[in-house]
Amino acid sequence: MRLSRALTTNTEGREGASRVAPLLSSGVSKGSLPGPYPQTPEERAAAAKKYNLRLEDYQPYPDDGKGYGDYPMLPNRSQQERDPWYSWDHPDLRRNWGESMHWDFDMYTRNRVDTSPSPVDWSTMSKTLLGYLGFMLLMFGLGEVFPMYQPVMPKQYPYNDLYLERGGDPEKQPKPVKHYEI
C-alpha cells in the first residue's frame, strides 16, 4: 500500500477494502518519501532535491529489479572514516540532521563494519596472515604425520609383574618375569 494513496481519500475501485487511515499525521508530505526509479530528468532533479543532494551527486542504484527504487547510491564508506573533530549534529553517529543515509547505514556504524584505511595495504595484510596460518597448519600437519618424542617403553613392575597384588594364587609358583638382559 503506498503512503501517497493513503493520504488522499480516494478509495474508488477498491470495493470490499476498508478505508485505510493515514499512517503519519504531519511532517511527511506526498513527495518526500522514496519512490520508484526516476525515468525522466525532471524526476531525477526532484529526487535529488528530495534527498538533499546536488543533481550531479545524485546517482540512484541501477534499475535491475532488486528493489532500491530511487534511493541514492552513496559511497560505501563507514562512519568511522568521518572527521571526528567536526561538530556533527549526532556526534556518536558522525552524521548531520537531514543528511541522506546510506542504504547500509546500520552496517557502517562505528560499532560494525569499518572501511578506514589500513596501515599496510590489503594484499600485503592478507598475504602475511594467510602465509602465517598456512605455515602453522603445515607444520602441525607434518608433526602429526611424523611424530617425534623421547623413546619410551611400557612400565616395568617388580615381583613378577606384581603377581600376588594382581590376585595371583599364593600356592602356585608364578612365571618368572625378567626385565633385564646381561
Binding site: 511532517g27 522514496p34 534527498y51 538533499n52 572501511t115
Partner: protein, 127 residues
C-alpha cells in the same frame, strides 16, 4: 607506502589522496560550495528547531524516515529479472530442497542402522 592499493574495506588515507593536492579547478570549488550550502541549510533548520524554547516534541528527521521507508518497501520496486530469479532460486529454493534431502537421507540411514542393530550409541539412553 607509495604503492598503497585500495580495497573495499580499506580506503585510501587522506594524505595519500591525489585529489587533495590537484583539485583546485573552479568547477570543483563550485561543487564544494553547493554542497556546503546544502549542508548549511540543513544545519540551520536543525539548530532552529533544537534551540526553539517553545518546542515540546522530538525533532523528526525526514532522512531517517525516508531510509526506513526505503528499507521496508523493497517489494514494490522488485522486478522478476533473470538475475533476481537466479538469486532467489539459488538462495531460497535450492537450499530448501537440498537441506530436506540431506537431512532426510542422513536420518533414514541412521534409522536403517538402528533397525539392523549396527548403530553404536555414543550416549546411553537410560541407566
Amino acid at each position: 607506502m607509495a604503492d598503497y592499493k585500495e580495497a573495499p574495506l580499506a580506503s585510501r588515507p587522506k594524505t595519500l589522496d591525489p585529489a587533495e593536492y590537484f583539485n583546485l579547478s573552479p568547477e570543483y570549488r563550485r561543487a564544494e560550495e553547493e554542497r556546503a550550502a546544502i549542508r548549511a541549510r540543513l544545519k540551520r533548520q536543525y539548530q532552529m528547531q533544537l534551540n526553539n524554547p517553545l518546542r515540546k516534541e522530538l525533532i523528526e528527521d525526514p532522512a531517517l524516515t525516508r531510509w526506513t521507508y526505503a528499507r521496508v518497501h523493497v517489494l514494490p520496486n522488485f522486478k522478476a529479472t533473470p538475475k533476481t530469479s537466479l538469486l532467489g532460486g539459488l538462495f531460497g529454493v535450492f537450499p530448501l530442497f537440498a537441506l530436506y534431502f540431506l537431512f532426510s537421507s542422513d536420518r533414514n540411514k541412521k534409522e536403517q542402522q538402528i533397525k539392523d542393530g549396527t548403530y553404536q550409541r555414543p550416549y546411553r539412553l537410560s541407566y
